[in-house]
């Protein structure tokens, strides 16, 4: 068996492709599946006819859909064609009418018998079955099929339709072959053969909870009463919604039938609708069911809850809800089976349209696990699943079937299961709904409903909020408790360096240590009546409300816990848990506070930290100011308003300007000039902005001085600039071609965090080799490593302005200047010393006393955009 999928582009392309296919000389039955989201009925039949002319012996199986599944992706607004050629097996197909000439539905028994008549004697193993939503007796039909086709696996469902085509055709979906299309038909394709084996399974993600209830009255698909109470009221109050004014949560909280508790029953809510509106009394489709129920008021406008197929009174239901972890585990189980199936030559996949409405990412994610296989299928409105040797009609499911005649494996994408964050993110909505319900619950006036509801919500939460392996609440639970139980004192505990642990110790040892770590924390928390959460692998949290414990007590307890974890015995690996106690947490501040605290802790290398969650949160004004600054910077970049100003550096020996320092200024649209202090930090935090203005600045300075022979200029270079390879190569390129590279001095800030001194020295050497010069800026402003400074062979050393400024009043400042001056005397390599911020004569006098080479400051020159004489 081979299967080959392609997208329909044009008839010519199609002919080309199919011809290649039929060149394959080996004989065998061919099944061609067409799932189209772009063709109307007539167009589809036309396409099928065309295919039939090219591949005359093919069995064509066509359905409309809203989106096709192909190559592990969801493809919208396309038509996908999948060709399966059998090696020895048989394919038969048939399109049976589901309604008779008078418009009445064909009874399921007869339909099943008709099917049996067509499909006898072809060793059917797999029955691909599609029908349309108009046929409401699908459940019974499948039951009959189970009877007439024992051991046959069925897959398929209700054909769906894309909105565009639905508008054109006014129908709910259709099936077709080369002869006709219909929205009242049953399309069957039997695949059989002695060698053929197949496996079908499904995933839903539904978790049944709570007690059983019973449909006590129904009409068609409409559930009229449950446990003898009005179905709509019963349903909505049971999920915490306002029965008078419900929101649409039927997909999140479906019913399941109690014998198949993971298969949801998809329901639609109608308001102010009569049974007659839904099931027209005059329509022959419904005439039978109307004749059975003369007692009902058919025109009463009411709230209705309807399934897509007939439900019978007496059916037992349970409430359920769908959540991320169940979706993941269901899919994982499904995937494992398909992956391990030996004859996986062809994969069919059908997914329910409603899955995309529950969780936006759900469908894409679950299909992505089959990304490298030849999966082909489409979106449907109801599915047929195979469970425990029986076929069932299902809703809200993802069905996958694998079949083949010879051993074969396909490539899949198991990594999908390690990237499930997108699903968890979707969970937030469900959680939010549950928050709301909890809140409402406390105000609710329906006492009994509130009681039942509370149990329901708690069950949902239990499933949602507990971490996978242990019975410990997870991060979502922490969020919820912060919100609802006012837990505002939270200690985040984390162990870093797990990677290095993994390189040295055995997995078993690590597991043991982990278990001990978790249980120590959990037991301690329990003993102290705190709540314990596992956030992620080694990260846990212990939380307490401020109404039960003071910060001092809480901190003391956490310190004790940290010590006891340190003191763990030799049986375990020694771990260093890092504790961060946050006070006054809210859902909004918790994580941002934790992350910023963690950065601080890493920088300062501290293992225990207490802080207010509100601390360091920006206030509105400063945020606004930041955005304003971003605008200014952007404006300056766009309108060429990054302007270098130049300040002369005065040579104390020759009493003239020796060179200029280029200083960056920005101008806004009103002409206001901004100094670096106001914009540099903002620019740095938006790295690209900083890089851009740096580049503009450099290029302007280079341009201005490239032609000048006798004046040199210095320009600031930050550590970030050194990491910007573009900028650095721009500098190197310029210098290597510059006429007078010696005219350019690069000032490196001393107080920046320089992590990689080798890189810096590399830069300095390169600059020197290119003939330019280096200056160390702001010397004495940080806690200098003097050896580093000495190792940078700078040509100038600029004493920090804060020292120079105070040299008249402050002996210590004078001592520092003396120190630098003496150092210079002792050095073999000569460098020039610059004193900046020389603002008045008094300072200059002091500076001259120390024989400082250059002075820079308002006394000699103010920064100007233009230089006289240039």
């Amino acid at each position: 068996m081979i299967t080959w999928n392609f997208q329909y582009i044009s008839k010519t392309r199609l002919a080309e492709a199919l011809k290649q296919f039929s060149h394959n000389t080996r004989k065998g039955d061919i099944l061609i599946r067409i799932h189209t989201a772009i063709h109307t009925g007539e167009e589809a039949v036309d396409l099928a006819k065309y295919i039939k002319t090219i591949v005359p012996d093919a069995h064509i199986f066509g359905t409309s859909t809203s989106a096709a599944i192909c190559w592990g992706r969801l493809v919208q607004n396309q038509c996908i064609i999948s060709v399966t050629k059998m090696s020895g097996g048989t394919v038969r197909s048939t399109l049976l009418p589901t309604f008779d000439d008078s418009g009445k539905p064909v009874p399921p028994e007869i339909l099943a018998l008709n099917a049996k008549a067509v499909l006898t004697g072809c060793e059917t193993k797999m029955l691909l079955t599609f029908t349309t939503r108009k046929y409401l007796d699908i459940v019974k039909l499948i039951d009959k099929c189970n009877e007439y086709f024992p051991e046959v696996q069925m897959t398929g469902g209700f054909a769906n339709i894309s909105n565009v085509i639905a508008d054109k055709m006014n129908t709910t979906g259709f099936v077709f072959n080369e002869n006709m299309w219909t929205d009242k038909g049953l399309l069957l394709a039997s695949i059989g053969g002695s060698e053929l084996e197949c496996y079908s399974s499904y995933a839903t993600g539904a978790q049944a909870i709570g007690a059983e209830c019973e449909i006590t009255d129904s009409f068609g698909g409409a559930i009229l009463s449950i446990d003898n109470k009005d179905a709509v009221t019963e349903y909505y109050t049971s999920v915490g919604n306002d029965a008078d004014n419900p929101s649409d949560v039927t997909e999140l909280f479906p019913y399941v039938s109690s014998e198949a508790s993971d298969i949801p029953i998809f329901m639609v809510y109608f308001d102010k609708t009569s049974l007659n509106d839904l099931y027209g009394e005059n329509s022959p489709i419904f005439s039978t069911i109307w004749s059975e129920r003369k007692d009902l008021d058919k025109d009463e406008k009411r709230k209705l809850l309807c399934a897509t197929y007939n439900l019978k009174a007496g059916q037992k239901l349970r409430r359920a809800f769908i959540y991320d972890r169940k979706i993941i585990s269901d899919n994982h189980a499904l995937f494992r089976h398909i992956e391990n199936f030996e004859k996986a030559e062809t994969i069919f996949g059908y997914s329910c349209i409603a899955r995309s409405t529950i969780y936006s990412n759900c469908m894409k994610w679950e299909i992505s696990a089959y990304a490298n296989s030849n999966i082909c299928g489409c979106i449907v409105e109801g599915e047929i699943v195979h469970m425990n040797g029986q076929n069932r009609f299902a809703n809200l499911s993802f069905v996958v079937s694998a079949l083949g005649e010879a051993p074969c494996t396909q490539d899949y994408n198991p990594y999908a299961f390690s990237h499930t964050d997108s699903l968890a993110a979707d969970n937030q909505e469900l959680l939010n709904y549950l928050y709301e319900v909890e809140n409402k619950l406390s105000l609710s006036s329906h006492e009994m409903a509130a009681d039942k509801m509370k149990v329901f919500v708690r069950d949902c939460e239990l499933k949602l909020l507990y971490s996978e392996n242990e019975d410990i609440p997870n991060a979502a639970a922490l969020n919820m408790d912060v919100k609802l139980k006012y837990l505002d004192r939270i200690c985040m505990i984390n162990v870093f360096d797990i990677n290095s642990m993994e390189t040295v110790f055995s997995k078993h040892m690590i597991k043991l240590t982990y278990k001990n770590y978790i249980s120590s924390c959990a037991n301690f928390a329990k003993q102290k009546h705190y709540t314990f959460y596992i956030i992620s692998d080694w990260q846990v949290a212990i939380a307490a409300p401020s109404y039960m414990v003071s910060l001092a007590e809480f901190t003391e307890d956490m310190e004790y816990l940290q010590r006891s974890l340190f003191e763990a015995t030799a049986e375990y690996i020694a771990i260093v848990p890092i504790f961060c106690v946050l006070n006054k947490c809210t859902v909004d501040t918790l994580y941002s506070a934790y992350y910023s605290a963690r950065i601080e802790m890493m920088q300062k290398n501290i293992q225990f930290y207490v802080r207010d969650a509100t601390y360091g949160q920006l206030d509105e004004d400063s945020i606004r100011e930041r955005y304003h600054m971003v605008n200014v910077i952007n404006y300056a970049i766009a309108h060429d308003k990054v302007i270098p100003y130049f300040q002369g550096v005065y040579d104390n020996a020759t009493n003239s300007i020796h060179h200029y320092e280029a200083l960056m200024r920005l101008e806004d649209e009103k002409g206001k000039v901004y100094l670096p202090a106001s914009f540099l930090e903002v620019a740095r935090s938006y790295g690209l902005l900083y890089d851009t203005i740096s580049k503009i600045m450099l290029s302007k300075v280079f341009e201005k001085f490239s032609a000048i022979e006798d004046k040199s200029v210095s320009v600031n270079i930050s550590v970030r600039d050194l990491k910007n390879s573009d900028l650095i190569s721009y500098i190197y390129d310029f210098l290597s071609t510059a006429k007078h590279p010696e005219n350019f001095v690069f000032e490196i800030l001393e107080n920046e965090d320089i992590e990689d001194y080798d890189e810096l020295i590399g830069f300095v050497d390169k600059i020197h080799s290119l003939g330019a010069q280096i200056s160390v800026d702001d010397f004495g402003s940080g806690f200098s490593n003097l050896l580093h400074i000495a190792n940078i062979h700078s040509d100038y050393l600029k004493i920090d302005g804060s020292i120079v400024k105070r040299c008249c009043d402050d002996q210590e400042s004078r001592n520092l200047i003396a120190l630098v001056a003496n150092w210079k005397e002792l050095c073999s390599k000569k460098f020039g010393i610059i004193a900046e911020f020389v603002e008045n004569d008094d300072i200059q006098k002091v500076i001259l006393n120390f024989n400082i080479d250059y002075s820079q400051g308002f006394l000699f020159s103010t920064p100007e955009p233009d230089i006289k004489g240039l």
Binding site: E447, Y486, Y547, V549, S550, L551, N583
Partner: protein, 591 residues
Amino acid sequence: MRKRKGEKKIIGLMVEEIISDFSKEYIQSVINAVRPDDDIRLIVLAGKYIEDTDAFDDIRYYKTVYNTIFRLGEQCHIDGLIIHLGSMSAEKMARVKSRYSQHFYDIPKIFVGLKTDKYTTVNYDHASGIIEAMDYLIKGDGLTKFCMLGGREDNVDARDRKEIFVNCLRSNGLVYTEDQFENTDMSTGCVEEATALLDRNPGVQAVFCVNDASAKGLYDAMKLKDLTPGKDILVFGFDNTRMSGSLSPTLSSIGSSDCTLGHKALELLLKKLNDEEVESAFVPTRLYGRESLQYEMYDYSFVDMANADQSFINRMFDDCFYRYKSELNDDRAVDLKRLFNIFMSKIFLAIKKRYISFEEYNEIERMINKFFEKGIMEYTDAIKLINSLERLQNSLNSIQRSPSARIIVNHLFSVMRNNAICSIAEQKNIEKTAFTQTRNNLQEFLICGMQSEGTPEQNSEKLLRMLGLLGLQNAVLYLYDEPAKFDHTHTMMFPEELKMKCVIKAGKLYLLPKERQSCILSDLFIRDELPLKCKGFATFIIFYGDYIYGFLMCELAGDIYDRGEHIAIQLGKSFYINDMQSKNIIDNDKE
């Protein structure tokens, strides 16, 4: 004076006296207003009230010397002052003011309980509380015969309260004559005046006392006449001090409704220190009903209760624990209001659901125990709380229908009541133990002082060591090398040079080595040796007769308000004796 940047702000609290209930609570309210992050050190300078009519006797002399303590406000570094000298008449104020230097005027100040446009002041809005009480009595109960036990003529607040009282009567069409009024010294000892008032007004239905202390006098007077407050005559006081809750029967009293005087004053002073514009403020008052005048500040309606509305629970809390809201909440401490809200909500919910699980019950019980363990009783008086609880319990019982839930809820209420009673008993016990301890300490101190066989130097060191026996937790002792002599002119200034002799930190005594003792007077309150964790200190002058030996600064905590002066006297006396003895030795040697 030197500018000090980035260091603790020193805020002086000048009060007339430290021992009265009102002062204690007023000082405490300022302490409570200091947030944990505020870098503030409070210094209490408490004097003695001297009435112009006081005889020139020993006591007056003592008081005069005692009051030189106020000079520290001028001579020491202080960043701001909150001055509450309620009984200071304007002319006396002017007289006192003339004695101070310009420097003193430059210190930012807030005056509490002073009517003047010249300074920023904080005053009670007397009218709101008094009118509430009088309206209730006149319009609600239809009473017509009122009396007032007033204060001193020179007390601004007392005059104010009288005026409002009289206006209330007149505006309600009732007659007022001076017979219905009697002046007192505003202390608990005004039994005589109270008796006179009662004698003059035999059919009186309600008496307004100018403060809680004078109400105590009235209580005593009524007892002599076999009258019961609250039954025979309704009584209400002013200031809503803790005393009002401990009297029997408990005293209804008018007190600040949201923010205390001290809180407001500190708030304004801090603004002033930040160069912000500040305006004089009034602190609104309300009547707090107790046994002597049954009055409910809030109604517990069935509707509220059935809905278990959050705001209703909060109001209930404010009613039961009326002191909590006025004492600044430290966000690092346990949030008792929320705790109350949480467990009350749970109880209400249980009633609504007519069901409470065993786990839930345990949880609530744990919360209630925590609630009391964390000292909620500090914020209420026991009788009032128990009454409120009872009222609530009765209301709850009347609306609930499930017998099983009722039993459990009632049990929870009894847990609360037991806790309340236990914590009162415990408090009483602690007080009693502390009292015995104090007496024993002092006794030991005195006994040790009797034995003096060493050199004068040895003796004085021994004396300092004995300071550790007094049971002070945090304190500093400054002494002059030679005692300063009290100067009868009003320009008396303390000598600049003195010695910091010893420091007590967390109950441990540290004697300072000689070379580190020297200190100048202006640094008295800013020394680094002062225990850092204390929010404030009370300063006591140590003197005996004319001889001023130095100053004792004690942490504002525990019973220092009551004991401080006594300790200072004992110290003064000991130093005096020591001095005399060493002089004798020297004299003997000479002979």
